[in-house]
């Protein structure tokens, strides 16, 4: 809604779905989405700084409200990890799950910021394009999913050894028979490709779709009094429903992370 005169649905959508970019070099790859990076790093610093601040003064006596809240969240995640991962979860998997859950939840929650008001605020700050939700940027979800994919391969090799991992790739799930090797390898390749794809696209799709629906409601709200009324009601309803989606997607992303990392620790 920035440059009023040429406002069409297309330009409205395009405006809200354009990242603030910065070019780092030649070619399309060397661009950086400053809004995505800044928002995610800011949210990460806020949430993990908060956790750190609370945990630093943690008492083993009667906890205060703040500590009780953090403990509740952490124990919830610890419980989930314990039921899936059988090993020393405190060393890496559980804190990694906490990181994923808290960070993704925070980034998803930015979806509940009223898009047009935020756009006006950014406009006041002199920023024309700024997307508040880092998880509607496929770079973020792919970054997370690929990091976890690399961790998965790392733990596979660490736990089973390189030979053990290759043996697993060749001999499972169908059997040791050399005739079955190509099938096994094909199956595992499909699995290893599909894991990060489904992992990242599920989160991206849900949150991006949520954003698009907010935009559509916003567009309807601009069509007149009736549109504004219904747009308000629908927007409120969708936002309330979206609280569930935001949390659920963060939880699913975290659970899949734990499951993938547990599978990497277990030999077949």
């Amino acid at each position: 809604m920035a440059s009023g005169a040429e406002l069409t649905p297309t330009s409205y959508m395009a405006h809200h779905l354009t990242n603030l970019t910065s070019s780092l070099g030649e070619g399309p790859f060397w661009t950086l989405h400053i809004d995505t990076l800044a928002m995610s790093v800011l949210l990460g610093i806020i949430s993990f700084g908060f956790l750190w601040w609370v945990v630093r003064g943690a008492t083993s006596g009667v906890p205060g409200k703040r500590q009780a809240f953090v403990e509740l969240a952490i124990e919830f995640i610890d419980e989930q990890v314990k039921s899936t991962f059988h090993g020393d979860r405190h060393a890496f998997v559980a804190p990694a799950a906490l990181t994923v859950f808290v960070w993704v939840l925070m980034m998803n929650t930015m979806d509940l910021l009223p898009i047009d008001i935020m756009a006006a605020v950014y406009e006041l700050l002199g920023i024309h394009n700024w997307r508040s939700v880092p998880t509607t940027d496929i770079n973020t979800t792919f970054a997370l999913a690929l990091s976890i994919w690399l961790l998965m391969i790392f733990f596979n090799i660490k736990v089973k050894g390189l030979g053990g991992w290759i043996h697993e790739l060749v001999c499972t799930p169908f059997g040791k028979n050399p005739l079955l090797w190509p099938v096994n390898i094909l199956f595992n390749v499909v699995e290893y490709v599909s894991k990060p794809l489904s992992h990242s696209l599920r989160l991206y799709g849900n949150i991006y779709a949520g954003e698009i629906i907010f935009l559509l409601i916003g567009m309807w709200a601009a069509t007149g009094l009736v549109g504004t009324l219904f747009g308000t009601m629908l927007g409120a309803g969708w936002a309330i429903f979206h609280i569930l989606i935001v949390t659920l997607q963060a939880f699913i992303f975290m659970m899949l992370t734990v499951v993938y990392l547990s599978m990497a620790h277990e030999s077949h």
């Binding site: 750190w52 943690a58 083993s60 880092p134 970054a143």
Partner: protein
């Protein structure tokens, strides 16, 4: 929507956040929680032990009370026995004393009777002597007739 360098920067941010959580957020809180769990477990165990000890103590105190009651009853029985014994002894002593007093009194009475009789006999003898003297109109020499007088006295 195109993949670009943002992905790598986000992955680096992710790695840093994971490292931070693994290093600084998770361990202190887990330590605090585990310490608290230990404290609670210790407290529960102590409570259980206390309950057990209370039970033992109540058993012991019941035993002590029972024993004390038993002993008190014994003491009462003994005291009653002793009291009746004392009464019995006192009765016996009183009877003995009574008998002794009675015997003494009897002896005294007898003595008194004897003495009276002696006196009486003396008087009678005197009377007899005086009578005889009167009859004989002469003095009876008591010394001379002492033998006679004594025999008369004895006959009386």
């Amino acid at each position: 929507m195109n993949i670009n360098f943002t992905l790598i920067s986000q992955a680096m941010a992710f790695a840093i956040f994971i490292w931070f959580t693994v290093k600084f957020v998770w361990p202190p809180l887990m330590r605090a929680i585990e310490n608290r769990q230990k404290t609670i477990a210790d407290g529960l165990a102590a409570g259980e032990r206390g309950k057990h000890e209370l039970e033992l103590a109540s058993h012991r105190s019941a035993d002590v009370v029972k024993e004390a009651k038993q002993r008190a009853a014994d003491i009462i029985v003994q005291a009653e026995k002793r009291a009746s014994q004392i009464i019995e002894e006192a009765k016996v002593a009183a009877q003995d004393e009574g008998k002794r007093i009675l015997v003494g009194a009897k002896a005294e009475v007898e003595q008194e009777v004897f003495r009276a009789r002696e006196t009486l006999r003396q008087h009678v003898a005197d009377l007899a002597v005086a009578g005889a003297a009167k009859i004989l109109h002469r003095e009876v020499d008591a010394k001379t007739h002492a033998d006679l007088l004594t025999s008369i006295k004895a006959e009386l």
